[in-house]
Symmetry: C2
Subunit: 500 residues, 2 copies
């Protein structure tokens, strides 16, 4: 009885979430500029409403009673656990702190938009300090309220848990240490090997946006995107939004860079198929939601890195590319493969290839972790940044704040504890891919024929349909036989970049 009342409450929250998702999509894709003030007000009110619903005093008794109900199915029990987690998180932070965080991060993000182009670290530092201080307070509050239930060993665990439930420092530290030890050597080997090959060709002429869009849609259809249950639109900053029944992804086309654009679409299609594939019967309940950012990113990176840049897939789509974009020498299968597996250390995370990307993440992770735990401070960032970039990627970033610690929007907007997800996603993807190859031994031949149903069926069964029924460790164990293990990612780099 109490359980079903709780389900109704969370159904309502999900409908408000639907409204928020669609208003946010519209804001980024359709809204005219002068609509922004009214839109922001409407969205803020929906957020307040959701919070009020979750802070209803009666919920506490309802949870106690529901936990005594004997006739709940496994999925209902898992849903109860996820409802409670969501409720506890909302109650954990005092309202004043939420408001202070919101103000500080608006201020910092707003300033960052002009300070970054001016390379003005001195102006940025005190604002960022404020954001980190408040994140530290929030982390302590989360730890107090949820630490015992959720198994936080420290305040940084509490922050990561917001983005990636079940991920802890004790799980990540040894994994990232392993990557730090291996990756610099692997990178050197790859760069040497690469230097002995010719530089791949770029397309000779600009390619019209309409042609790129037609190719993107054809690729998305090949990857199972249902255009009767979703849309592709164009935005400056691509994202994947909407709701499971109505998936909205966006991309950006550049007449002079067709190469990156295509992989962007494949990446977002991975996010979309995960959302769309979540268990429909639980669509408006917490247990029916995606697992967390590290698993979400594993699906986009599975599509982009494991599948999209694999040799059989590129061989299979090369004729499609030429059909839509014309017969440029850059669009031979060999050349496309060379372009899509090119490795080059650079200053900017979002432009990084899969070999250098983890280094960008690890340096940010170690910095934010140490600041939150009181072992470093915001003013140490530039020096530590330079040291890590030098150690891991052999690059000197001194004085270049714009393309150094000021490059990302995450910290100014208060998203601390988020960065690890990107690399966890890459590791999860490699581990899932290895398990897939064990379960579907002819996967490579299937991919060569663009017969992708067995791949998607496997992902659906092992990840998409699982929602949040299990925790992260159990999800990975059921799908792959073990918890997070970085060997699969390192093996993947060996096999793609250093064998044959």
């Amino acid at each position: 009885m109490s359980y079903s009342t709780l389900e109704k409450t969370f159904h309502r929250l999900a409908q408000l979430g639907h409204a928020e998702a669609m208003l946010s999509w519209d804001q980024h894709v359709m809204m005219p500029p002068k609509g922004n003030a009214a839109r922001s007000k409407a969205m803020a009110e929906l957020t307040v409403l959701r919070t009020e619903i979750l802070q209803d005093e009666r919920l506490s008794d309802r949870f106690d009673e529901a936990e005594q109900e004997a006739d709940l199915t496994d999925w209902q029990q898992a849903n109860l656990r996820e409802m409670k987690r969501s409720w506890q998180q909302t109650r954990a932070i005092p309202k004043d702190l939420v408001e202070a965080q919101s103000l500080a991060s608006s201020e910092c993000e707003h300033a960052w938009r002009t300070l970054r182009p001016n390379n003005d670290w001195a102006g940025f530092e005190p604002l960022l300090q404020q954001v980190f201080d408040l994140a530290g307070e929030a982390a302590a509050a989360y730890q107090d309220a949820l630490g015992a239930d959720r198994g936080y060993a420290n305040a940084y665990d509490a922050l990561m848990d917001q983005y990636d439930p079940g991920t802890t420092m004790s799980r990540i530290d040894p994994v990232f240490d392993r990557l730090k030890a291996e990756l610099p050597g692997t990178l050197q080997q790859i760069l040497e090997r690469q230097s002995q090959r010719p530089t791949p060709n770029k397309p000779e002429r600009p390619i019209a946006i309409t042609q790129q869009d037609a190719l993107a849609r054809a690729l998305m259809s090949t990857l199972g995107f249902d255009f009767d249950a979703g849309r592709l639109d164009q935005t400056a900053h691509p994202f994947s939004g909407g709701v499971p029944a109505d998936s909205r992804i966006t991309t950006r086309y550049d007449e002079h860079n067709v190469i990156e654009g295509l992989m962007g679409v494949i990446h977002e299609t991975g996010h979309s198929r995960y959302e769309t594939g979540l268990p429909q019967a639980w669509t408006s309940q917490p247990v029916g939601q995606a697992m967390g950012m590290g698993v979400h990113e594993s699906q986009s990176l599975f599509f982009e890195m494991q599948l999209g840049r694999s040799r059989p897939f590129i061989d299979a789509i090369a004729p499609m590319v030429r059909q839509h974009l014309g017969d440029d020498p850059a669009f031979s299968a060999d050349n496309l493969h060379a372009l899509y597996t090119r490795v080059e250390p650079g200053l900017i995370r979002v432009n990084a290839d899969e070999v250098t990307y983890p280094s960008h993440v690890i340096l940010r992770y170690e910095l934010e972790r140490d600041i939150i735990l009181g072992n470093a401070s915001v003013k140490d960032i530039p020096e530590r940044w330079n040291q890590a970039m030098s150690d891991l990627l052999g690059l000197d970033t001194r004085g270049d704040y714009r393309n150094g610690p000021m490059q990302d929007i995450h910290w100014p907007m208060g998203a601390i504890g988020y960065f690890p997800s990107y690399t966890l996603g890459a590791l999860n993807a490699a581990q899932l891919h290895a398990a897939l190859l064990r379960d579907v031994p002819d996967a490579a031949e299937r991919i060569a024929q663009l017969d992708l149903a067995p791949i998607f069926d496997w992902l659906s069964r092992n990840i998409w349909q699982q929602g949040r029924f299990n925790n992260y460790d159990d999800l990975m164990t059921q799908a792959t036989g073990e918890v997070l293990n970085p060997d699969y990612f390192l093996d993947h780099l060996q096999s793609r970049y250093l064998s044959a």
Copy 2:
């Protein structure tokens, strides 16, 4: 204190209204088909939430206390009146009746979509009977709850008040009787005169949608539509939606019928400018909303009929039309004017010209009024329909239900009491236009130069900026010196169709 608490409650309702407006726009313009079930659920939940907020038991005391507050400004008092009206309306109808109405109208509307093409009146009648029965119950409930406060003389007044606050049978009956007495004779005179002139030319070739769209945007800009605060999109059924700060209008283009499409855009731009021009300080309060459907339609018809089809306006835009659509003989100012003032009695309301349109409305009004008041029944509709079409427009509709009483979606969807608004809009528009000509004597010369600011300033001052500060009668009296008077509309027909 209580007043400001009420303002907060209505601010919240307005933000939910923003979400509903945008989700509804998206549903009609952007949403892929399979998104509909999830969208309908989300929108239903927002409606339930709004109703719950308005049914909060504490509101009753708040209204009592607020009415005792001595320091309210005139606008706050008007806002309090409008808040109370909205609250009383929501409380007036028992929840069971709301649900029964919603079910009956869904069922009737759904069936209508197949019964209409099959011309199946016998299948339609019992479903429509159900809709009318429940509308009658609702009308009685409204009359009980609000009749004394709002001055309803009968149950039909209660229904009209939902769509067009302040409009009553005692105001409409003499006006519509006057039109019934005058219009058939006027129509005969116009048709005779018209028959002595050559039939105007239609464009010789199909016109590409892109050209029509460019012209539509140019015209909208001329009419003051701000594309930084709104959008134009294409849908099968054009509408005007969004919120004041972000106006979303839609249109439909037909390569073979550029003529109607253009006036459609001008019509919707009129709706949009009214919404956009409402008092910004009151944008999320009831007093800051549009007056009602009869005044809303007066603005779209002011734009379309009074301004858009006037000789000086057509002369002024004819070069713009030729610039965008090419030099077809149909696009001379003389021919455009002839096309845009062509009169022809027909079976279908939405295709009617301004001379025959009121007859379509009056026959529907008299039928629904008599049914609600128990003076007629649903089974009388076909016979009375035919009699009225014959008397007013000289047309025989016997047996043609599809293009007779089954043509409109309004009755199946339960919108009873709505039809009068269309003709009230036309009458209001003519009366406002006459007042404008008194206040801005050089209006025709200004229009000839497309210098429309004085026209819009007048509308803004007299209608848009007024919101719901006054009631309908006072609004018209302040703007035009008198309450609704059909002479201005009849004079307008004389002057456009029978003079010179």
